[in-house]
């Protein structure tokens, strides 16, 4: 008798078809969030706040209540939702162009205030939806449509390492960076997302997960090559790991 070891999570809408580009890891991230919401049994109590970018489409795929925030303001909006409805499970879902650029102040101050919400940020080192412009996480030397000779330090400065910065804030309970380049790392990513959600359910403080993802279209790469780039270039600079976890430190 064969046992079913994989199924599409019930939290995914029936007949939902992801609108991401072929080979984009964003679909994996959405599925992991859906699986965690299902396993924790919080889907009926969830309010998600979506940022601008490819990430905004998450409410088309997951059957939950969701709000759409102006560019970068997803964490600010989620703060209001959580304070008005403290019994709700609130998380934000945005990309690096949304969270790390225009929304950096909101994210950082929510972390400093220790808002009891969860933020998930997809880092693909570029502005994906608008055509691959240079973003705050674009790596040194990376060619984008607005840095045709590559990112140089003198003109553009350094990329931001979000997970480390958020971990430094005293109100943060959990901060991690995960990658989706291999199946093993996808499993670790799911554990981190679940942990971040559990931290919110326990009311310990702000929880944050940065997910290293690919953007094959704007990187001008095949999906396979894009994963190699994540391993060989991105993970050398944006090192995966758990940067803060109060549940461990308290033991």
């Amino acid at each position: 008798m064969a046992t079913q070891v994989f199924k599409i999570p019930n939290t995914i809408k029936k007949d939902a078809k992801f609108t991401f580009c072929p080979g984009c890891d964003h679909g994996v991230a959405v599925r992991l969030v859906a699986e965690c919401l299902e396993e924790l049994g919080v889907i009926d109590n969830t309010i998600a706040v979506c940022g601008i970018g490819c990430s905004v489409t998450i409410y088309d795929f997951i059957d939950m209540d969701a709000l759409e925030a102006p560019h970068g303001r997803s964490v600010a909006e989620a703060t209001g939702v959580k304070r008005a409805k403290p019994d709700k499970f609130v998380f934000t879902y945005s990309g690096d162009g949304d969270y790390a650029s225009i929304g950096l102040a909101e994210g950082m101050h929510a972390a400093l205030r220790g808002e009891k919400i969860t933020s998930i940020c997809i880092n693909n080192t570029t502005y994906g939806m608008t055509g691959g412009q240079l973003g705050p996480t674009t790596m040194l030397g990376q060619v984008t449509t607005t840095s045709p000779t590559g990112r140089n330090i003198e003109y553009y400065g350094y990329p931001i390492k979000l997970a480390e910065h958020i971990a430094l804030c005293d109100g943060t309970a959990f901060s991690a960076r995960v990658s989706l380049d291999t199946v093993a790392n996808i499993k670790k990513a799911k554990q981190a997302i679940k942990k971040a959600f559990e931290v919110q359910l326990k009311g310990l403080g702000y929880s944050f997960v940065e997910i290293l993802s690919t953007c094959p279209t704007n990187w001008r790469m095949t999906p396979d090559k894009a994963h190699e780039r994540v391993q060989n270039e991105m993970m050398q600079v944006f090192k995966p790991g758990i940067y803060k976890d109060v549940t461990v430190e308290n033991v």
Partner: protein, 71 residues
């Protein structure tokens, strides 16, 4: 018997699953094209080698491998 179910209409032809399968049981179809115009992947397991490891489904970004059975 371990096997997978491929939802062809979701397949976007990134072929990440082809590389992921440890037994090389997933192949690109030569004649089948879905509504999106993509040559879809096929599960081809004549000798029942599938382990039911679900690595292909875990890797697939588009839920095209919708079910995996083990045993």
């Amino acid at each position: 018997m371990s096997h997978i179910v491929v939802d062809e209409n979701r397949c976007k032809a990134c072929y990440l699953c082809v590389k992921e399968c440890p037994k090389h049981l997933i192949k690109v179809s030569k004649d089948k094209v879905n509504k999106l115009g993509n040559s879809v992947v096929e599960f081809d397991d004549p000798n029942h080698e599938c382990l039911g490891c679900a690595m292909c489904a875990t890797r697939c970004p588009d839920l095209a491998i919708s079910e995996v059975y083990r045993g």
